[in-house]
Amino acid sequence: MSEDSSLYVFAQALWQCAQALPMTLLLTGLSVAAGFCMAVPLGIAHHRRHTLSARLVRAYVYFFTGTPLLVQIYLIYYGLPGFAFVNDLMQINALAFLKDGFAWVLLALLLNTAAYSTEIFSGAIRNTDAGEVEAARAYGMGTRMAMRRIILPSALRRALPAYSNEVILTMHATALASTVAVMEVTNAANLFVTETYQPFAAYAAAAVVYFTLTSTLVGGFKWLEGRYLRHVRHRG
């Protein structure tokens, strides 16, 4: 390892990036999990065209899918503490974690992925086969029960390919947390550059980490699709 110095530098960069991996995974996991919990009810509200709640959800989705995540992070991280009540909250000792970038970036990531997921789930609910809904009705199910037992399970399965893409994009999006000093993989690479001035090795190492993570997620979702979309595959 010591003979080839550029390889050695790369290995060092890779080690530094890998140490920041838990933070990237934490940001991804938390925002995806919370985003999913938010997007399912919002998706149900979103697909009903003309109610007030549908309009509000549409406005939310329109804003968060129509603007860059970086701007959303700035708006939340720099902007929200400017409001008096948020500032008051930050002074409470138990809520001191609000002074870190982490909580705000997590909020931005979660609102962002929830907006895209809402759109995906709403589309899947809308495209449910009319026959499935009719069958549920024929069994005497009400709107709520049909949604819970028939439409949602079927829609979430069909949403899987689009949703897997959204999860991967959210994982990539955590790189933006580096702009507000959260020590995840990209920021570890930034730090390596300031220490060694080897930008290529640093960012190539980060790229390797992200690419490995992407491949793992792609593989995981392929397995999930094989499991939950078997009925669709056989029909084709």
Binding site: T67, V71, L75, Y78, G79, G82, S178, T186, A189, Y210
Partner: protein
């Protein structure tokens, strides 16, 4: 919130200059990345094993890594490589402008997405269409211009729309490599006036304007390229 208005008015000309820069970068990058996408799709569909592999590697690698990493890697490394090259040749140092680097990187990234879009669209064209063109005695170029290209555009349009919308939002990343685009100018104005929420909201609204205008434009393009398709009622067939 409302006492912010005079300050916003004061900074608005600068932010609007950033808006113009953002639009310039987006348009230049999308044009370049469409060209790269055509090249990539041609490589993937060439039937030449090595070319197809190279095209596939390009699209998979680029899409597997965050945009920001590519942006930082290309901007900082390209400068170093160029410095070494100019040193070796005894030339004066050439400095890469963030503007050029931004456009280059965005095109490089979105070229990969367009590769996939165009490849899918080419595969969606019914072979009978091209056979029919051949039967009418059209040459290769004529078939491409009259049959393949318009048909491919029809299938590619939803993907092009999506790529364009994502690309316009990605232009915000050029602010990280030091370009004075709308995102950066608004954020700077926000921090110097202690009104970060109001100023970042201005840039968010300007981005929404770009999105809305683009959606309208694509609605028009879609009707243009859908000519000759019998409109079916949406829903299950």
């Amino acid at each position: 919130m409302f006492d912010a208005l005079p300050l916003i008015a004061q900074y608005l000309p600068a932010i609007l200059r950033g808006f113009v820069l953002t639009v310039e970068i987006a348009v230049a990058s999308v044009l370049l990345s469409v060209l790269l996408g055509f090249a990539g799709a041609a490589m993937r569909l060439s039937g030449h094993a090595l070319l197809a592999r190279a095209g596939q590697a390009y699209s998979v690698l680029v899409r597997g890594v965050p945009d920001l990493i590519w942006m930082l890697m290309i901007y900082y490394s390209l400068q170093l490589v160029l410095n070494d090259a100019t040193d070796a040749l005894g030339w004066e140092m050439i400095e890469i402008s963030p503007f050029a680097a931004g456009i280059f990187t965005l095109s490089f990234i979105y070229g990969a997405y367009f590769t996939e879009t165009f490849r899918g669209a080419m595969l969606a064209i019914a072979p009978g269409q091209i056979e029919a063109a051949c039967a009418y005695g059209m040459g290769n170029l004529q078939t491409l211009r009259r049959i393949t290209f318009p048909l491919m555009m029809r299938f590619a349009l939803p993907g092009i729309k999506n790529n364009w919308l994502v690309l316009t939002k990605s232009t915000a990343l050029v602010s990280i490599i030091g370009l004075e685009d709308m995102t950066r100018l608004a954020q700077q104005a926000g921090s110097s006036t202690h009104l970060p929420f109001a100023f970042n909201l201005v840039s968010a609204l300007l981005f929404l304007l770009i999105t809305s205008v683009s959606l309208q434009l694509f609605r028009w393009l879609e009707t243009h390229y859908q000519r000759g398709v019998k409109m079916t009622v949406h829903g299950d067939e």
